[in-house]
C-alpha cells in the first residue's frame, strides 16, 4: 500500500512552491518510494544504537585562531542582489 502523506505541509517545510499538479504527482511518487523505504520497519532494532562515524573517532577540533576571511568583493560578486556591502532580500513575512 503506498503511504499517504500531507504533501503540501512537507513542501511548505521544505520551502518549495509547487502547484497542485506537481504536488499531486510528487505525493503519488513519494507514496510508492516510502512504501519501499518502510521495509526498514520490518527489522527489530531494539537496543541497537544508530550509526556514528564508521571509523569511530571523536574530538575533531580546531584551535581558536583567526584565519583570513574572504574579500568582500569576491563574496558579493555572486550575490543576486547587494547594496552598500549588504546582501539584499525582500522583506520576511514572519520572524524566524
Amino acid at each position: 500500500m503506498p503511504i499517504d502523506i500531507d504533501i503540501s505541509h512537507v513542501a511548505r517545510l521544505a520551502r518549495l512552491a509547487l502547484d497542485d499538479e506537481q504536488l499531486e504527482r510528487y505525493r503519488r511518487q513519494l507514496g510508492v518510494i516510502l512504501e519501499h523505504a518502510a521495509r526498514v520497519q520490518a527489522l527489530d532494532t531494539e537496543g541497537v544504537e544508530p550509526t556514528g562515524h564508521p571509523l569511530g573517532f571523536t574530538n575533531a577540533f580546531r584551535d581558536d585562531q583567526v584565519r583570513p576571511s574572504l574579500e568582500r568583493d569576491v563574496v558579493l560578486a555572486e550575490a543576486p542582489d547587494h547594496r552598500d556591502g549588504y546582501f539584499v532580500v525582500p522583506p520576511a513575512l514572519e520572524g524566524p
Partner: protein, 483 residues
C-alpha cells in the same frame, strides 16, 4: 493574590573567542558588513564546519560554574528552519545531549537566598543580522531586508533555567547574576546593550498551591535588566487579567515594546515549528572526560561563590563579604594583598567596601588607578587598631593614600592627624585641663559622672583633636578616682 507566577529565563551568551565557532573568521563587532565571512559561515556549497576547541572549553567552564553535570559524550544536531539570516537554513546546535545539564545558580532577593535550577547549557552558532528597511525598522511593512553575516557563526551558549523563578524581581536578579558570572569567567563581554548577552523569558501563572503549569508565553526583545523586569511584571498582570476575566491564554511569543510598556503578540506562524533535529553528520561526538574537565576547572578563575566562602573563612562578616565579592577586581586584589601583608581581614574588607569603593566612584578614578597598596592598607588598619588614628582621621589618611601622597604614616604626619598615644604627653594635657576646671572636678566627685564627657571635650580641644578620646576618658576617670 491567588495566582503564582512561574518564570523561566533563556539566556544566549556570545563567547569572546578570537575566531568563530566553526571557522577561522574573526569574532569582532562594529565592523563594515560582511568582512568577516568565509565559505563556512556564509554557507557556500561544499563548506564544512570544524568546532573551536576553546569554545567547548568555555561552555564547560560555564557549566561547571553553574554546578552542572558535564555530559561525558555530547553531540551536535542540525536545527532545520529557513530564514534569510541563517546561511545554511539550519543552525548547528545541540538537542538531546547538551554539554552541560542539571545545575543551579543561587540568587539572593530581599535577604533570602534561593537556588534556581539550570536545566541545560548547550553550544550553538549565532545567525547573521537583519536590518529591515522601511516600515519603522520592524519586520512588518518593511520594503527590503539587508543582511550582514559578520555575526553568523559566532559561538553562542544557550543557558536554560528551570521555571523556578517566582517574580519579575527574581528573574531580573537571576539575569544579573548570570551575566556577572559569565563576565567574571572572562568568556563573554556579556553586554546587554551590545547584544553579547540576550534574555528571553517564559512566563505563565497558576493558582497558588497547584503543581500544574499554566499556558506558557515567551517574551522577547528585552534589552535591559530594567525592561526585563518591567516586561515580566506586565506579562504577569496581563495573564492574570485575562484569566480573572474568564478568558483563555494563547501559547505564543510576544514582543516587549519598551516605549509603550506592553507586550504584543507577534503574527502567529502557520503551525508550530518542526525543526526536524538530526545528529550533525559533518561533526563527530565530543568526549569531555574527567581529565579534560579537571584541566578546564583548574584554568577557571575563582568564582564568586568560592570567593565569598574564602572571605567568610577569613573572618569577614557575610554582608561585607557579599559586597567585596561584587567589588571591582582591582579592589578584590587589594584585599588579598592587604591580608597577605598581615592586615586584619574584617577591617581591611570594611575599609575597601565602606570607603574605597565610594571614594573611587566619587572621584571618578578607575579602581586599578587608586594608589593604595596592600601593605599600605595593612599599615592603616594597624595604626587604627593601635589608636594612632581615630576612625575619622583614618578616612582622611586613606584619601591621601589613594591620591598617591604616600604611606599611611607619611600622610598622617603630613596632614597632622596622628593621635597622641604617648601617655605622658596625654597626662600633661589632662592635668592642665583638670586644673583649669575645678568646678567640673567638684561635680564629678559629687556623683555627676556625665561631666567626664565635658572634660574629655576640653582635653580634645586642648590637644587640637589629636588625643584618643577613649584613652583620655580612661585617664580622666583614673585620675579623678585616685584622689
Amino acid at each position: 493574590m491567588t495566582w503564582e507566577p512561574v518564570i523561566g529565563i533563556e539566556v544566549h551568551v556570545e563567547l569572546r573567542t578570537d575566531s568563530k565557532m566553526f571557522c577561522g573568521c574573526a569574532v569582532s563587532f562594529g565592523e563594515e558588513p560582511n568582512v568577516n565571512v568565509c565559505p563556512v559561515c556564509l554557507g557556500l556549497p561544499g563548506s564544512l564546519p570544524v568546532p573551536n576547541r576553546r569554545a567547548i572549553e568555555w561552555i564547560t567552564e560555564i557549566g561547571l560554574a553553574l554546578n552542572c553535570q558535564i555530559s561525558p559524550v555530547s553531540v551536535f544536531h542540525r536545527k532545520n528552519y529557513f530564514y534569510a539570516d541563517l546561511p545554511k537554513n539550519y543552525q548547528i546546535s545541540q538537542y538531546d545531549v547538551p554539554v552541560a545539564h542539571d545545575g543551579w545558580l543561587e540568587i539572593t532577593v530581599d535577604g533570602e537566598t534561593r537556588r534556581i535550577g539550570i536545566e541545560r547549557a548547550h553550544m550553538e552558532e549565532d545567525t547573521g543580522k537583519s536590518i529591515h528597511l522601511g516600515g519603522g525598522g520592524r519586520i512588518h511593512s518593511a520594503e527590503a531586508t539587508l543582511l550582514d553575516f559578520n555575526r553568523a557563526g559566532v559561538p553562542l551558549v544557550e543557558v536554560v533555567s528551570r521555571p523556578d523563578l517566582r517574580s519579575a524581581v527574581e528573574a531580573r536578579v537571576y539575569a544579573q547574576e548570570l551575566r556577572a558570572l559569565v563576565a567574571e569567567l572572562g568568556v563573554s563581554d556579556a553586554r546587554l546593550e551590545e547584544g553579547s548577552i540576550r534574555f528571553d523569558a517564559n512566563v505563565s501563572v497558576r493558582r497558588r498551591g497547584t503543581d500544574e503549569f499554566g499556558t506558557k508565553v515567551e517574551i522577547k526583545n528585552m534589552n535591559s535588566f530594567r525592561s526585563l523586569e518591567r516586561a515580566i511584571d506586565f506579562e504577569i498582570r496581563r495573564q492574570v487579567d485575562v484569566l480573572d476575566g474568564g478568558g483563555e491564554l494563547v501559547q505564543e511569543t510576544r514582543h516587549w515594546d519598551e516605549e509603550a510598556g506592553v507586550t504584543r503578540g507577534m503574527r502567529t506562524k502557520e503551525g508550530s515549528s518542526d525543526y526536524r533535529y538530526f545528529t550533525e553528520p559533518d561533526l563527530v561526538p565530543m568526549v569531555i572526560d574527567d581529565a579534560w574537565q579537571a584541566e578546564i576547572r583548574a584554568a577557571m578563575p575563582e568564582l564568586p561563590a568560592d570567593r565569598r566562602a574564602r572571605y567568610l573563612s577569613l573572618g569577614v562578616d557575610p554582608q561585607t563579604a557579599g559586597a567585596l565579592v561584587g567589588a571591582p577586581p582591582a579592589f578584590r586584589r587589594l584585599f588579598d594583598e592587604a591580608v597577605d601583608a598581615g592586615a586584619d581581614a574584617k577591617a581591611a574588607a570594611n575599609w575597601i567596601t565602606g570607603e574605597l569603593v565610594a571614594w573611587a566612584r566619587r572621584e571618578e578614578v578607575d579602581p586599578a588607578e587608586v594608589a593604595v597598596t596592600g601593605a599600605g592598607l595593612a599599615e592603616l588598619v594597624a595604626m587604627v587598631a593601635a589608636a594612632e588614628l581615630s576612625a575619622s582621621a583614618a578616612k582622611d589618611v586613606l584619601d591621601g593614600m589613594a591620591r598617591g601622597e604616600g604611606s599611611a604614616r607619611e600622610v598622617a604626619e603630613r596632614r597632622d592627624l596622628l593621635q597622641i598615644t604617648d601617655r605622658g604627653a596625654l597626662e600633661a594635657v589632662v592635668d592642665e585641663v583638670l586644673a583649669e576646671h575645678p568646678d567640673a572636678v567638684e561635680r564629678y566627685r559629687s556623683g555627676e559622672a556625665k561631666v567626664v564627657g565635658f572634660l574629655v571635650g576640653q582635653v580634645m580641644r586642648a590637644s587640637g583633636g589629636k588625643a584618643d578620646p577613649r584613652a583620655v576618658n580612661e585617664l580622666i576617670r583614673s585620675k579623678l578616682d585616685e584622689t
